[in-house]
């Protein structure tokens, strides 16, 4: 059964149809790439799926439940986490706090346990600290843990955002251009991590411009054009498809 299914999704901005009856589904355990020329509707698709914008029509189903128009916080709690094309690290917080923030089920995020400093809050916070430090270590940010994230480089921000997303242990991870503006070494590094997460069972959808990295990484490619599905298939078949070549070179 598919983990995420999008059916006949439509979104207009003014007169522009960013999504035009798009249907696509992602199975549990998939590693799917979404590509397409500028303005094809890739980010709008993510925004509609993750609840940031409300689609004008169509349905989004996550894990068998209709989640169309649900709030981003509800979707995040349900296990769907996204990252942003332009990294959105919390600049005024330290790297460590950025990652800790994402922790789930922390009773200390409610007023009374926070005021009373309950045992439940303290023990959960110890687990959170440990897990956050693990992730920070794994993403080679340990030396920057107490640095405010505004001071990180572009690549480090990408890593931080990934680490923060993983803190939630998502079922479905939506990555919006994780390699944009990242140097080749780091690109390989991030790609390896994504593959590793996927092999551990996490379902991952990646938007990317850069064809080579994406085709090497994913099992399946979805190509969008003008808000519609152009081609859906294995990287080899997609790259050989004339329509794709045309969309990229002719568009």
């Amino acid at each position: 059964m598919s983990l995420l299914a999008v059916e006949d999704l439509t979104k207009e901005f003014g007169g522009l149809r960013a999504l035009d009856g798009l249907s696509v589904s992602v199975d549990r355990g998939d590693l799917v790439g979404v590509m397409g020329p500028n303005g094809a509707g890739k980010t709008t698709l993510f925004n509609c799926v993750s609840g940031i914008v409300r689609p004008d029509g169509g349905a989004v189903t996550f894990d068998g439940t209709d989640v169309t128009g649900n709030s981003p916080e509800a979707l995040a709690r349900a296990g769907m986490i996204r990252t942003f094309q332009l990294t959105r690290e919390l600049r005024t917080m330290t790297v460590r706090d950025n990652v800790r923030l994402a922790a789930t089920d922390q009773p200390g995020e409610r007023t009374l346990p926070a005021l009373l400093r309950t045992d439940a809050m303290e023990s959960r916070e110890r687990e959170v600290d440990e897990r956050a430090d693990e992730l920070i270590e794994a993403f080679e940010l340990a030396h920057l843990a107490d640095e405010y994230s505004a001071n990180l480089s572009g690549g480090q921000r990408k890593l931080l955002e990934l680490a923060r997303a993983l803190m939630l242990d998502p079922e479905l991870l939506l990555l919006d251009e994780p390699f944009a503006g990242v140097n080749p070494t780091l690109t390989r590094d991030i790609a390896d991590r994504i593959r590793e997460l996927n092999s551990e069972g996490m379902t991952v959808v990646v938007i990317e411009h850069e064809l080579e990295t994406l085709t090497d990484l994913v099992d399946r490619l979805v190509v969008l054009q003008q808000g519609q599905l152009l081609v859906d298939g294995s990287p080899e078949t997609v790259l050989d498809d004339e329509r794709v070549v045309e969309a990229y070179l002719g568009g």
């Binding site: 993750s50 940031i52 709030s71 981003p72 916080e73 995040a76 709690r77 986490i81 996204r82 942003f84 959105r88 690290e89 919390l90 600049r91 005024t92 917080m93 706090d97 800790r100 923030l101 994402a102 922790a103 789930t104 922390q106 200390g108 995020e109 409610r110 007023t111 346990p113 926070a114 005021l115 400093r117 809050m121 916070e125 959170v128 405010y148 505004a150 001071n151 923060r164 939630l168």
Partner: protein, 347 residues
């Protein structure tokens, strides 16, 4: 190492301890025949210090709203007034004009806090989902609307004269005026210390982390599963409730409320105090408020030695305060004790 550093726990715990000591001492002076005699030259200091404690509750609430959650509340005085007027209308006996129901003051004080919180929830429900600047406008407008209501509805709020005949519990318990003054200051100081301890705990906990995330980037907080609206609402209502508590205590101390106590000036004072001290730092905002109120006190004495008229002097004072604000924004945008990186400002 000072004595204070050897006390248990962090800053919040020490503040709670100090608060407890203050309240106990206040009780000692209020409930026993013990009396103090204050030199009359000190009266003015005591009066300003009591007002400082009341405003301290306001600034701690405002700091929770702005310093931690990023909410711009330009109408903080309305929650202060809501607390004051609620206490007055419920507890006053035979006010000169307006409503006075003569209920026990404890119930009135509780109601004052609740009414301020409710008003906060109402303003929040209408404005917190909108962009930041809408809240600023909505709060400013609410404060002006209520100010006009207080002035014009004489039968309810007593008009410009306000409401008098509010019980003064500490004065009723203490033996004489000097002792009342000292006991009031100690009790209010204790309330500020307890409030400090509470907000400190709240913001040190994971709760505060979420507030700061909402301030930094609401969408990220939401994408990580935190309901930004709910946190903004909570911070806003808590700040309003604290202002309501301040208003209620103030009414029970002065025995009267009038529109003149609840002007835009109050909002401006706590804002400047907060920005001067450094938004986000509980200690900083209290210190900033102390500086700004200290300056005002100092200027009272300066008036006696300057060769200008009282009205000209009042204008000069405003100019000086305005210039201080400009200087902070220009040269130290994070305030004296504020953390520039945490506030995201260049300094």
């Amino acid at each position: 190492m000072s004595v204070v550093d050897r006390l248990p726990g962090g800053e919040g715990e020490r503040a709670a301890l100090i608060g407890g000591a203050c309240v106990l001492m206040a009780a000692l002076f209020a409930l026993t025949p013990l009396v103090v005699a204050l030199p009359s030259a000190l009266y003015v200091f005591f009066e300003v210090a009591i007002l400082y404690a009341v405003y301290g509750l306001l600034v701690l609430g405002l700091n929770l709203q702005y310093g931690h959650t990023g909410l711009i509340n330009f109408g903080h005085v309305v929650f202060f007034a809501a607390g004051g007027y609620t206490v007055a209308m419920l507890s006053a006996q035979n006010p000169f004009a307006g409503i006075g129901l003569g209920y026990p003051w404890v119930a009135a004080l509780v109601a004052g806090v609740l009414v301020a919180a409710l008003l906060g929830a109402l303003v929040g429900a209408t404005s917190l989902r909108l962009r930041d600047d809408f809240l600023a406008i909505a709060t400013l407008a609410t404060a002006e609307i209520f100010h006009t209501l207080f002035v014009n509805f004489r039968g309810i709020f007593g008009g410009n004269v306000g409401l008098s005949g509010i019980p003064q519990p500490i004065a009723a318990l203490a033996t004489d005026g000097d002792t009342t003054l000292l006991a009031t200051l100690l009790f209010f100081g204790g309330c500020v210390a307890f409030t400090f301890a509470a907000v400190r705990r709240l913001t040190d906990a994971p709760y505060g982390r979420v507030l700061r995330a909402v301030r930094a980037d609401e969408l990220v907080a939401r994408s990580l599963g935190k309901s930004a609206f709910s946190y903004k609402m909570q911070a806003f209502v808590y700040g309003a409730a604290l202002a309501g508590l301040g208003g209620g205590l103030f009414a029970l101390y002065s025995g009267a409320v009038a529109p003149g106590f609840f002007t835009l000036q109050v909002t401006v004072t706590v804002w400047i105090g907060m920005l001067l001290g450094g938004a986000g730092s509980h200690r900083g905002v209290l210190a900033g408020l102390a500086i700004i109120m200290g300056l005002r006190l100092l200027s009272r004495f300066a008036l006696d030695v300057t060769p200008v008229s009282a009205s000209a002097f009042a204008s000069i004072r405003l100019i000086v305060i305005g210039m201080i604000l400009v200087a902070i924004v220009r040269y130290r945008p994070a305030g004296i004790w504020g953390n520039a990186e945490e506030l995201g400002v260049d300094s």
